[in-house]
Amino acid sequence: MNTKLQPIFDTHKGKDGALLPILHDIQHALGYVPEEAVPLIAKQLNLSRAEVHGVITYYHHFRQTPPGKHVVQLCCAEACQANGSEALAAHAAKRLQGADVTLEPVYCLGLCSIGPAVLIGEDELHAHVTPQKFDALMNGLGVKK
């Protein structure tokens, strides 16, 4: 773990308020923030483990367990609701049953005129996602039914 984290710590050395940037880099590199990383981060930033743990758990974005092979985020906020996101969410949950995919709600992707909106991975966006389009996207990723 230490060898994985040291380059990240080095990047942010001397930065004011470095905790969130460090957590982002760790999640970017590993897909989540492992429990073993907490004491190392705490030591690096001269914080208590409880403080670091408190921050990780406070923010919806940070994950404490490894995600599935793909991460799919569905917008569940009002403008997407107005365009049928709830039906899509129900469909997606069914379609992804047993699949190695992490399905998460997200509250607005800034695509509110062209919803329902979906984010796959860190930056792949899709608009007007109907259940049919969702299936096509999942088939494209090779996600088995």
Partner: protein, 511 residues
């Protein structure tokens, strides 16, 4: 000579398939041995036309849209590179009524300028505000902003000049400029469009703020849901060179907490802590980031400043109505036919936005309710569609303009369900500091569930609860959640009377 083609790199355009179109155009041009130069611009904000491709021809920029990758060979065959006829040809996009009727100020370069090029920004009139500010005394810069009548565009509409003056009048050696780019409200994307489509404008506004108050360090706090905006800002900063002088800016990424859009929670988050709201006073202007005097403003607030400096305060103040001066970039979202960005001076009506620009619902059914100002904003019924778009006129009908997000719903909407969602969102996003918000929102979900299951005698209880949240919460998260809830109850009472849903099972929630 190579031909310049604009294909938006804006997140909405990407979501509509702009990258695939860019790839197809590159491949087709290569095959035909035509030299082209693709610029990934921002979006013009007419999303039903995305991906919108513009070709620079002898007749000027000629637009085609919405283009799919399958259209590309045909477009080449039709000689679109010379601006020739094709079913998708729109001509000069600026002559379309949707754009021609707007009066863009803050977002006037978005979709036009190359967001990756400082020299293009300067060529398009950028930089003049900063150049002027450099010749003025700090107090004179603040005076310009005060005289413009600019009020914060993040939601609370506080006069920007007054905030800046407070920071200027402090004596600290270290002060900060913080840009609130958390844009968490559903139905809003103007900050995103500006950051992706004209990032230098934001940097310029922040640098001017730095000169105005004596700060040399700025932070832009961008939500993690906006990876493309973050990339655009970082690219712009990398190429800014010494244009910003000794003012330095760092981009910080949020982590999916709506309440971190509240200014003091945002400062906590930059400092590396949980985004818990601070009690005021002290104001951030006196003791903000790392305990130092801090200007914190919304993206659009900063982006309005360069033109105010360059063209003078009067130009901005002369737009608008009442105490709402200048323009607001409205965002038409939800179930709307022509969704997009509409920047106009204050003073039009909601109805004009919904029908003259928006063309009514996307589904073709009647519009029934419109939520204005994000998740903490009221739902307006048809009878209020003639309300003038002005902060005070909205306040007078128990609503808010907020950050200008307009979310339309057709007549299939269940307003009791929307009220429930408002409470649930508050429960999910509450920072937990005060009881009315933390506990009240959860109780609110439960009460609405019972009402929806037929216990209409609990409606007074819901009103009491809203009262407690309104008057007992420390910030607008708990304090304004009653806006959507009570407006739904007051204007759409019928949705709360019939049995709509059985009581949900414990733990049942949103997808």
């Amino acid at each position: 000579m190579s031909i310049t083609i604009y294909i938006p790199g804006d997140a909405a355009a990407l979501a509509m398939g702009a990258d695939a179109v860019a790839d197809a155009i590159t491949a087709e041009a290569m095959q035909r041995n035509i030299k082209i130069d693709i610029v990934r611009n921002g979006s013009r904000g007419l999303f039903w036309l995305e991906p919108l491709v513009e070709v620079v021809t002898a007749q000027g920029r000629v637009a085609y849209g919405p283009v799919t990758k399958a259209d590309v060979p045909e477009l080449f065959a039709a000689k679109f590179l010379q601006g020739d006829k094709h079913a998708l040809r729109l001509g000069d996009i600026e002559t379309l009524p949707y754009l021609a009727k707007q009066q863009r100020v803050s977002l006037r370069r978005v979709g036009i300028v190359d967001p990756r090029s400082l020299s293009d920004y300067l060529a398009q009139g950028g930089g003049k505000g900063l150049a002027r500010a450099r010749k003025l005394a700090p107090a004179a810069i603040v005076q310009q902003v005060t005289d413009s009548g600019l009020r914060g565009r993040g939601g609370a509409a506080f006069p920007t000049g007054i905030k800046w003056k407070t920071v200027l009048d402090t004596t600290a050696t270290q002060k900060y400029i913080v840009c609130n780019a958390d844009e968490g409200d559903s139905g809003t994307f103007s900050d995103r469009m500006l950051m992706e489509g004209d990032p230098y404008c934001l940097l310029e506004g922040m640098a001017i703020a730095g000169l105005a108050v004596g700060a040399n360090k700025g932070y832009i706090y961008v939500r993690s849901e906006y990876p493309h905006a973050i990339a655009a800002l970082n690219a712009a900063l990398k190429d800014a060179g010494d244009w910003l002088g000794d003012f330095s800016i760092e981009v910080r990424m949020g982590a999916g907490a709506y309440v971190c859009g509240e200014e003091t929670a945002l400062l906590e988050s930059i400092e590396g802590r949980r985004g818990i709201v601070r009690s005021k006073p002290p104001l951030p202007a006196i003791s903000g980031l790392f305990g130092q005097p801090t200007v914190i403003n919304n993206v659009i607030t900063f982006a309005s400043v360069p033109d105010i400096l360059a063209q003078g305060a009067a130009f901005y103040r002369d737009l608008g109505v009442g105490r709402s001066r200048g323009t607001l970039p409205f965002q038409l979202a939800g179930n709307i036919k022509f969704g997009g960005l509409v920047e106009i001076p204050f003073g039009a009506t909601l109805r004009e936005l919904l029908y003259d620009y928006g063309g009514g619902s996307r589904s073709g059914r009647p519009l029934r309710a419109v939520q204005v100002g994000g998740p903490l904003g009221a739902y307006l019924p048809e009878s209020q569609f003639d309300t003038v778009l002005d902060y005070e006129a909205f306040a007078a009908v128990g609503a808010v303009l907020g950050h200008g997000g307009i979310v339309a719903f057709d007549d299939t909407v269940d307003m009791a369900k929307q009220a429930r969602y408002a409470m649930q969102f508050c429960a999910l996003e509450s920072c937990g500091k005060c009881t009315p918000c933390r506990i009240g929102s959860t109780r609110g979900v439960e009460v609405i569930d019972r009402i929806r299951a037929g216990a209409t005698e609990q409606i007074p209880l819901l009103r009491d609860l809203c009262d407690t949240m309104t008057y007992g919460s420390m910030c607008a998260m708990g304090g304004m959640t009653p806006y959507p809830v009570l407006s739904a109850l007051n204007h759409f009472a019928e949705d709360f009377s019939a049995v709509k849903a059985p009581l949900p099972q414990a733990g049942e929630g949103l997808g």
